[in-house]
Structures are given as C-alpha cells and as structure tokens.
C-alpha cells in the first residue's frame, strides 16, 4: 500500500459516519435533548415564559390536584380500552370473513382501509355532522317515523367520549383487519386440513388453532393502537373540541391547552412527561419481548 492512498482510505472509512451524522446529531438534540429540556421545564416554576429554576415536584403536585387532569386521564383510559378492544374484535372478524375466498376481496379491502388515509381532522368533521342531534342520525330516524329516537351523545357530557370511540374505530379498525388478514394468510394450510380430517369444525379450528396462532399479530396491533390512543389529539379537537365543557379532554388536549393557550408551561410539560411515562410503560415490555425473541 502506498502512502498516498492512505488518507483516501481513511476518508472512505469515515464517509458512512459522515452520512449518518446529521441524523445522529438531530436525534440526540431533537429527541433526547428535548426530552431532558422538557423534563427540566416540568421541574421549574415556568408559567407564561419558560424559567430555568428548580421547584422540585411542585408542577406535578399542581397537576395531580387538578380535576381536569383526572378527567383527561380517565377519558384516555375509557377511550383507550374501548377503542383498542373494538378495533381488535372488528378487525379480526372482518379478516376472518374476508379470508373465506370471497369475490371482490381487493375492492372490499380497499373500502375497509380507506379511512386510515384520512386526517383525523377530516374524520372528526364528518362524524361531528353525522352525530349532530339536530341534523344527523337522530333527525334521520325521527323523519323515518321513529319519533322518540334519541341519540345526543355528542352534546351529552357523560356520553360524548363514546362518540370519540365510534369515530376512532371507524378510522382505525381497517388497519387491524389488514394486519390480521396478513396473519391469516400465513397460517399453515396443512394444519387446518389435518384438523378437518380429524373431524374438527371450522369454528373450532379458528378458536383452537388459527386465532391463538395470531398472537404476534395482535401484539403488534395492540402496540400501534395503544400508541394511537395515547397520542390522540386531532380527533378530539375536531369532533368535540374537548367538550362539552372539558368532558372529553384527554392528556394530549390538556397538555396543549395548558402549555400553549393558558400560559401554564410548567403544568403542561409535567402533563407531557406523564404521557411519556405511559408510553415507556408500554414500550419497555415490548422491546424486551422483541429482544428476547431475537436471542432465541
């Protein structure tokens, strides 16, 4: 090797690192650095403007003493559980029905999945109109002769959160269907055939063999849906605006309101840290199981 080729070689060695450097630096600063920065804000006395002092857990105490925060947390729990379970059930059943060698499968699949391409703002706007008691579904049934029909969930503080579930399921269940269908297509046909030969009925085969085999698919779907639920913000803004009152507030809308419209940066950042903790509580077991699988 001659001397002149040496610097070239070492440049070549560094080149890949130079190429990923912008992303690396951006990740360190804009994800991890910002998380720390945000954590600091949550321990400071910041209100309208950020202040970089230290007041310990004061902002968290204020957050936990705030009724509105607990309404938001409870709403996330109600919405999250119902949204996830309904999406999983609908998605699984639609996938099973679609997997029966039906005609026009491609077209049907396209119809089930198109809401996923829409913005939650569009979804919220559309459902706000459909669920509007004066002009939407309620009006339609009454015009058809069912005078006493009542469906006013959108403007009823106790029920409004369920309208968010309806719209959310409408948007995201097709995605679970797509995942489950891919999973069903991966099931070994020979096992199914063998079970049939042994005299097992199709429902029994689904219950005992196929659905348990979809475990990993459910797991991925669960992670994605949980993630959508915790981050849900646009749908609530467009559908209910967090109302009536703050009856449909969730942590994401709470955080936005306090941090950006009420000048309560400290409380807002504390709320976002709580959201981060919730996500971490889900990701850590997920990553752990993924890594364990890889080792095996």
């Amino acid at each position: 090797m001659n001397a002149s080729s040496k610097p070239k070689l070492s440049f070549g060695e560094y080149l890949p690192k130079i190429v990923v450097a912008p992303t690396f630096v951006a990740t360190l600063i804009f994800i991890y650095g910002f998380m720390l920065w945000n954590a600091w804000l949550s321990f400071s006395s910041s209100r309208m403007l950020p202040k970089y002092d230290w007041v310990g857990l004061k902002q968290y105490e204020r957050l936990f003493a705030n009724d509105r925060w607990w309404v938001a947390a409870e709403n996330l729990l109600i919405f999250g559980v119902l949204f996830i379970v309904t999406c999983l059930v609908i998605g699984l059943f639609l996938a099973i029905f679609l997997d029966q060698k039906v005609r026009a499968e491609g077209a049907i699949r396209t119809i089930y999945l198109y809401p996923m391409a829409l913005s939650f703002i569009v979804t919220g706007t559309a459902w706000k109109w459909i669920l509007n008691p004066e002009l939407g579904i309620q009006r339609m049934f009454r015009e058809m002769g069912w005078e006493s029909f009542s469906f006013d969930w959108l403007v009823n503080s106790d029920m409004a959160i369920y309208t968010v579930v309806i719209a959310g399921v409408w948007q995201s269940s097709g995605f679970v269907m797509a995942l489950c269908l891919a999973g069903l297509r991966g099931v070994d046909e020979n096992i199914v055939k063998a079970a049939r030969v042994d005299g097992a009925s199709m429902p029994a085969i689904y219950r005992r063999i196929i659905i348990p085999g979809l475990g990993p698919v459910f797991f991925s779907a669960l992670i994605v849906l949980t993630h959508i639920a915790i981050k849900s913000f646009d749908l609530i803004v467009a559908l209910t605006g967090g109302g009536p009152g703050y009856a449909t507030d969730v942590p994401a809308t709470f955080m936005y309101t306090y941090a950006f419209t009420r000048g309560q940066i400290g409380v807002g950042s504390a709320a976002s840290m709580m959201m981060l903790m919730a996500v971490v509580a889900i990701i850590v077991p997920y990553l752990y199981s993924e890594l364990r699988e890889k080792k095996q």
């Binding site: 890949p16 690192k17 190429v19 990923v20 912008p22 992303t23 951006a26 990740t27 360190l28 804009f30 650095g33 910002f34 998380m35 945000n38 804000l41 950020p50 609908i90 059943f93 029905f97 039906v102 049907i108 396209t110 119809i111 089930y112 999945l113 198109y114 996923m116 391409a117 913005s119 939650f120 703002i121 569009v122 979804t123 706007t125 559309a126 109109w129 459909i130 002009l135 009006r139 339609m140 409408w170 797509a178 995942l179 891919a182 991925s220 915790i230 981050k231 646009d234 803004v237 955080m255 936005y256 941090a259 950006f260 940066i265 950042s269 976002s272 959201m275 981060l276 919730a278 996500v279």
Partner: protein, 281 residues
C-alpha cells in the same frame, strides 16, 4: 349459494356500508344548498348537482379572520409536504444503506436510539421545539414546519430503508467493493436501482403523515402559513351567522382528496408502510 355464504357476504356488505357511509354523507351534503339540508335528512339525495359549496370552501369561506377559502392553505400544505418528504426520504435511504451495508461500531445503538424516536409522544418535544424555532427565527413559518417534519420523519424513513436493505445480500456489496467501487458508486449502481418499492412506501407514508398532520401545524404555524388541516378546523369552528354544513363538508373533502387519491392509486404500498411501521425492528 349456501346459508354460510349469504351470511359472509351479508356481514361484509354491512361493514362496507359502515365504512362508506361517512364519505357518502359528506359528498351528499356538500352538493346541497342550506335549504335542502334543513328540509331533508343527511341521506336525502340533492335535487341537482350544486357545486356552490365547493366553490365557497375553496375560495371565499372564512377560516378565522380571513375569508379566502382553503386554496391558500392547500398550497401551504403542498409547499411543506414536497421538500419535507423528499429530504426525509433521501436521508432515510442513505441512513438505511449505512446501517446495513457500512456498519460501524455503535451503529446498532444508533438505530436503537432512532427507533425509540418513532414511539415517543410528540407532546414531550413540543415546548422545547417551540423555543428553538423562535431562536432560529423561523417560528410560525413554512420553513419551521418543514424542518420539524423532516426531523421527526427521519426515524420512520430510516426504519423503512434499513429493514428493506437488510435483505439485500451483502455479498453483492462486498464484491463491488473488491472491484474498487466506493460508497456512492455502490449506492447509485446497486442499491438505488432495487429501491423503487421502498422509495414508494416511504414517500407515500411521509406524504400521508405530513399532509394529515395537525399537532405540529397548530402549534408551529400561524396566520397565512397554516397547513390545510389547521385551516379546515378553523373553517368548521368559525361561527359567523348561519352554520354552513355544506361548505364544511366540501372543505373536508378538499382536505382529504390528495391522500385519498394516493391511497386509491397506490394502496398496496400504503398498506405496506402501515404494516412496516407496526412490525418494527
């Protein structure tokens, strides 16, 4: 047809109606005038095809204080989406290439750090980013939003390309290296020509995400620089006089058209992006 088949098609058709109904109601409503809306139900068909509401939504409807329709905001979104999608996809492709074919010590750690970036709730970076955009002097501008979308899209695009390139045989790259081909040459001659499917997946994913984004749009843009989702929300919530549901619906369809179009033309790739995002690592 057996009873079973009838049941299957019955359920599938009912479900299809559930998914199609909101779109149908939107289209029907957007083609009516207010008189027809007040007198009929949401499924009564319009008496004639009336595009007045569409025209108003596009050019004269009020979104807050200004009354110039959605057209300006539609172009804002285009101006944000095009550079943000291109830059994040190109960088993602290069990152994926390095992370699979030019590994270095710590490259796996880097990928792990990046992966976690796809999972954090963005609320946790909203406040620091708002300050940073202020320092940089691009708060509230198109440039600010482009930058934000590039940064937080990188984790996804890198993930797509990394998972795609990992199945490209390394022997191919090693053989080319022995023949004296360098980093860029291998990328252009070997990697890029086989990347079309994943390029499409990445572009569609980023396009849909950025076009549909509301959170960054509402926090980091103001006035004339707002993207279409924010403008749509303002339009729907602007309460001056009579509520014009037909205009609201026309506006919602206008905001949805680009992503719907992409989905219908390239649905296969859209689904692939969704599932690639689901099965991480």
């Amino acid at each position: 047809m057996s009873l079973n088949r009838i049941l299957i098609y019955g359920v599938l058709t009912l479900a299809a109606m559930f998914y199609l109904l909101p779109l149908l109601v939107m289209v029907i409503t957007s083609l009516k005038d207010l008189e027809e809306i007040r007198n009929g139900t949401m499924l009564t068909l319009p008496q004639s095809l009336n595009f007045t509401a569409w025209d108003k939504a596009w050019s004269t409807a009020c979104t807050g204080v200004s009354c110039e329709g959605l057209k300006g905001y539609f172009w804002n979104s285009v101006l944000i989406v095009v550079p943000a999608v291109l830059v994040s996809t190109i960088l993602g492709a290069l990152n994926g290439y390095v992370l699979t074919k030019w590994r270095f010590r710590g490259s796996n750690l880097f990928f792990g750090l990046l992966l976690i970036g796809t999972m954090i709730p963005f609320q946790v970076i909203l406040l620091p980013m708002a300050r940073t955009l202020g320092f940089l002097g691009i708060a509230g501008t198109t440039w600010g939003l482009i930058l934000v979308h590039i940064i937080y899209g990188l984790a996804f695009t890198t993930l797509f390309f990394r998972n795609y390139y990992i199945s490209v045989p390394s022997e191919l790259v090693n053989a080319a290296r022995i023949d004296g081909a360098g980093f860029w040459m291998i990328f252009y001659r070997i990697i890029l020509p086989i990347s079309t499917p994943i390029l499409v997946v990445s572009i569609i994913w980023q396009f849909t995400q950025i076009w549909n984004d509301f959170l960054f749009g509402v926090v980091y843009s103001s006035g004339d620089y707002q993207p279409i989702t924010v403008a749509l929300n303002n339009l729907v919530n602007t309460s001056t006089g009579v509520k014009e549901y037909n205009v609201d619906m026309a506006a919602a369809i206008i905001a949805a058209l680009p992503t719907l179009f992409v989905y219908i033309v390239a649905g296969k790739y859209f689904v692939r992006g969704l599932t690639a995002g689901a099965v991480k690592g």
